[in-house]
């Protein structure tokens, strides 16, 4: 729960900064796997809901934690730090999804199902599907898709299953 609260406050912080015109960044690791793609896609979807501009996803080493010196950044599925989430006991995607729900977003069944699957992958447990998100990503990469293309596809498919909180609730949070 500690990580969920940390993630929620980092997302809210980036939302406020972005609204004020700061170029915000989501850091995740190079050679991204399902957890990195999904957690980055979830955060970017939330941040890009409000204008202006769009959050940038930055690919870095998974060994690098994001510290307070990078106040415009948030790390997902990278080393735990003041501004980065690893999802130690579960998956980063599970932590991020819980944090997003905590700030009032609704995630439909398909998003919950994909988060559950990625958590099973990340914790080395058996999945129902052979063609799970990791294999889908590997296949797309082998077919020549770049990491940015895969990320954009994931975001475009998730967006119809994510609903922002009602405006009144947002106003309450801002206040």
């Amino acid at each position: 729960m500690l990580e969920v609260n940390q993630a929620a406050s980092l997302i809210e912080d980036l939302r406020r900064q972005k609204a004020a015109g700061v170029d915000v960044e989501i850091v995740t690791h190079t050679a991204p796997d399902a957890d990195a793609f999904l957690s980055a896609a979830l955060v970017k979807s939330v941040l890009d809901e409000d204008g202006p501009g769009a959050a940038t996803v930055v690919w870095m080493s998974s060994n690098v934690a994001v510290g307070e010196e990078h106040s415009q950044r948030m790390g997902v599925d990278v080393k735990t730090g003041p501004r980065s989430i690893k999802g130690r006991e579960t998956s980063a995607a599970e932590v991020i999804a819980s944090a997003i729900k905590l700030i009032g977003w609704e995630l439909d069944g398909p998003v919950a199902a994909i988060v559950d699957e990625v958590t099973l992958i990340d914790t080395g447990q058996r999945r129902e599907a052979a063609l799970d998100m990791n294999l889908i990503i590997c296949s797309l990469r082998s077919a020549g898709w770049s990491d940015d293309e895969i990320l954009l596809h994931v975001i475009s498919q998730l967006s119809s299953h994510m609903s922002p909180p009602p405006t009144e609730a947002l106003l309450g949070v801002s206040a």
């Binding site: 190079t30 398909p110 994909i114 599907a129 998100m133 296949s139 797309l140 082998s142 596809h153």
Partner: protein, 254 residues
Amino acid sequence: MSVVAYYSRRKEGVDGAVALLLATKRATRSQSSRRVPSNEIHLVNKQSDVTEVLQLNPKHPALLMAGLWTDDLETRVALGMSQLNGKHKRSRIIDELEAPGTSLQCLIPKQQGRRIEFISEILRGLIFDAKERIEANRVCKSVRIDKLGHAHLPANVNRHFGWLLYKQGALVVTFDDGKAAMGLKLSREAQELGLDARDFEGLPDQWHREKWTIIYGSRKAPKPYDEAGITGEELQAVVRDNLARFHRQLEEEE
């Protein structure tokens, strides 16, 4: 050359079959057509105007039928229809592409044309990976596994294919790709025997250790290869020493 795969929208699961024709380059594009019977796909060569009619069996998934049209081992392995040695097996991949669940259901586009294109990209990647897996299997067959249960993966084989050497009896597989990563991985059997990679002696402290692996550098966390602290040959010697010690302990316990 332009070859169009014409298909009927009425045929359930036709997307997968058309996607495979695109992925294997038998077709260069696809288009739905009301004139095509639901259990057929028409491949029309636009230059010669020759039409090849492919029959689908209503009792079987369309993608399975499309897989049966080819003898290509890479395609069959990619679809999960064949093992690396060519033996047939039941394919979960085909079942899941026919009726997508979980991630695939969420990530697959709704619009049919885009869905076919997306599935063909996945199939293209699966075929590429199957080709790599078949080649790795061929190369690994000539790898010697010593009496301690150690085998070293050839440098041109991805370390994720270490399981091919476990299948041949290796307990510990070492790898060194010569540019980014080196380390070792334990087979499930080795772990069940009580071998724990965290107990290995003689390896640099900065290497990442888990119960089942010790690794320096990776694509997720790149590190300077030259700063690994030991060479690939030294790594193999250290692993052999540790395995010899482990076998002595096992004998003493017996």
